[in-house]
């Protein structure tokens, strides 16, 4: 009966994440916004594959019951791995920016324009 609840959570998380990305000035907080966005999309994928009362899709010794779809889980796993790489690269950029500029305030990272 609460089948739509995860989707409501997905949309809420996406909106929160976009708000953080757009309005926050601290680079680390912006990155956290991106991480939240990633999690929201992962939750969306997992929700797509969920079947009510479903069991894990492992065929060995499986009881006769509905299984959840394995494909979205595989997609989510891939997406999580990509997300780790993304976060690592973003944070390493933040380290260099902090070293070179002495600030991670977005309003101060403006040397390109000059």
């Amino acid at each position: 009966m609460f089948w739509n609840l995860p989707l409501v959570a997905v949309v809420t998380l996406i909106l929160i994440a976009l708000a953080i990305i757009v309005f926050k000035k601290n680079l680390i907080k912006v990155f956290l916004g991106i991480v939240i966005l990633e999690s929201a999309v992962n939750l969306f994928l997992i929700t797509l594959g969920y079947r009510e009362g479903g069991i894990a899709p492992i065929y060995t010794n499986a009881p006769p019951a509905t299984m959840v779809l394995p494909t979205p889980q595989a997609l989510t796993l891939t997406s999580i791995v990509i997300g780790v790489a993304t976060s690592a690269l973003l944070l390493s950029f933040a380290i260099i920016i902090w070293k070179k500029y002495g600030s991670i305030d977005i309003d101060r990272i403006r040397r390109l324009k000059e």
Binding site: L27, A85, T86, L90, F93, I96, I97, I109, R111, L112
Partner: protein
């Protein structure tokens, strides 16, 4: 002549070769600089050769299907899968083959150039690792038939590109540019992932042919279409999402900028693939066609007007890249706007699309050439500032020749390749809507004006005393530029042959959704 094994497995080998090259280079490149050059040059040469063999095979024998994890292509749909192609499939039709040709030529020319241009820098093993990963990403994006696989390769490409844009930290400014690019492309990629989720939720499939066959064009599909168009138009640098382009293009090393041009074309390919193959006639062709035309015209006009006042030669060229992307969007957009109406398509639609697609390959060649000349000038002078250059025609004669070839090609002057594709766009777009053709011509004239100014301030005038020590660029850099220049001239001299053998099959493959679907679902 070529072993059958290589031809059969070329789609897989094409991805394996740069991956092996990339992941072994951190170890092998430490041995010595000669070994490094041979290793990375060899890896790229092998990759290019396999990609060209595959492209040749596709052009002679038709669309190729390669099913990973199965012994034959006929196993695309396993008997117990309920009619759904569950394996990852590479589907290379003539449009993909064209992109493979672009990547093979540019990738090879640019790595020859890099061998010399980056010689004095540190961290070269990472540079080449990321370079080969970029090549992997591009090749994968343009040949995959699985939409989630497309997302994975897109992310490989974004990660590698962002690392390379920041490669010369340059007081943190390059990192700032890379940050901008990477935040945008991550958000774009997540938008694509949401769209993939929407397709999966509706059609239970990730295979593009399967989704195309089941496409209903419901409200959810429209949401997915908007997400994908927005993300990929941003990645290919179309106005109004172009603001990362000048920053990233100007801060990356010039060799990488030239490769970023190819990477943008791969995103453009993804955009066309989505619109034509996934949706085709189910969408409201006139509306989406006009949307792409308007994006194209905006990119052309905004790009060129922003380019004119620039002082930094690479920023200027980057804005021109935005402007040239507009031509491709315009040409293919016109083709899309008349999709489903066979008589109009025959009258000018195909020609417009051929012009747009021809412009993709031409742009990759001459814009790559221009960025490489900018890199050669930077290597000798240490500045991109146009006001501090002058009189280089005396000392850098070959660079000047290559710059002139690139500049005339981008301005659409015969007999160079830019003219060949632009004339096709003008003629066909004029039939569709004369105003659009007029705008395209005006933009072309402004491009010429801008490059005449650049040429004059870099190469003309008396030799400046502070640059009296300046020598010609080293031989490998000239060789890299030479490869691209030869292609520019050949395509300009024989446009008829190129259009007939490379471009027209690509345009027809893009329009013909049925053939793409049948290649997978028909069990070919």
């Amino acid at each position: 002549m070529i072993p059958a094994f290589i031809v059969t497995h070329s789609p897989a080998l094409m991805i394996i070769a740069p991956l092996v090259g990339a992941f072994l280079s951190p170890f092998i490149c430490r041995i010595s600089s000669t070994v490094r050059s041979i290793w990375v040059g060899g890896a790229m040469a092998v990759t290019s050769a396999i990609a060209l063999i595959l492209a040749l095979n596709v052009y002679s024998a038709g669309t190729r299907l390669y099913v990973f994890g199965a012994s034959t292509a006929s196993a695309a749909i396993p008997p117990d899968s309920g009619g759904i192609p569950i394996r990852i499939i590479f589907e290379i039709d003539p449009m993909s083959a064209l992109m493979l040709v672009i990547t093979a030529i540019s990738g090879f020319a640019i790595i020859v150039y890099s061998l010399s241009s980056e010689r004095s820098h540190t961290g070269l093993e990472s540079y080449y690792t990321l370079y080969l990963l970029m090549i992997t990403g591009i090749l994968g994006m343009v040949s995959t038939g699985d939409i989630f696989n497309f997302f994975v390769f897109l992310e490989i490409l974004s990660l590698a590109s962002a690392g390379l844009i920041a490669y010369r930290i340059d007081g943190g400014v390059a990192v700032e540019a890379a940050l901008k690019y990477f935040v945008l492309s991550t958000i774009g990629a997540l938008a694509i992932l949401v769209a993939i989720g929407i397709y999966y939720g509706q059609y239970n499939a990730l295979n593009m042919a399967m989704i195309a066959a089941r496409m209903q064009f419901s409200v959810l599909d429209q949401v997915a279409l908007v997400l994908i168009i927005a993300a990929l138009a941003m990645k290919c640098g179309a106005v109004p999402m172009h603001f990362w382009t000048p920053d990233a293009y100007s801060m990356a090393p010039s060799s990488i900028t030239a490769l970023l041009v190819v990477a943008s074309q791969a995103s453009l390919y993804g955009l066309f693939r989505t619109v034509f193959t996934l949706y085709n006639v189910t969408l409201n062709a006139a509306t989406v066609g006009w949307l792409i035309i308007i994006l194209g015209v905006l990119s052309m006009v905004v790009g060129v007007t922003m380019a004119i006042p620039q002082k930094n030669v690479k920023r200027l060229m980057a804005y021109h890249a935005v402007s040239q992307t507009g031509y491709m969007l315009l040409g293919v957009g016109v083709g899309l706007a008349v999709l489903g109406n066979q008589s109009l398509l025959d009258a000018f639609g195909y020609m417009a699309m051929e012009g747009g697609i021809f412009h993709i390959i031409n742009h990759a060649m001459y814009k790559g050439l221009l960025f490489l000349t900018a890199g050669a000038i930077f290597l000798r002078l240490g500045t991109y500032n146009l006001n501090r250059m002058g009189g280089l025609g005396h000392s850098m004669k070959w660079t000047m020749v290559f710059f002139v070839i690139g500049a005339l090609a981008i301005a659409g002057i015969p007999p160079f390749n830019g003219f060949a594709s632009k004339i096709m766009i003008y003629e066909s777009v004029f039939v569709f809507n004369p105003l659009l053709a007029v705008i395209a011509m005006v933009v072309s004239i402004l491009t010429l004006a801008s490059f005449v100014k650049v040429f004059h301030s870099i190469f003309m005038g008396p030799a400046l005393p502070e640059y009296s020590e300046v020598k010609e660029a080293p031989m490998p850099m000239l060789a890299g530029m030479g490869i691209l220049a030869v292609v520019v001239i050949l395509f300009g001299l024989f446009p008829g042959i190129v259009v007939e053998s490379l471009i027209a099959p690509a345009a027809h493959a893009l329009v013909d959704q049925g053939a793409y679907v049948a290649a997978v679902l028909g069990g070919v």
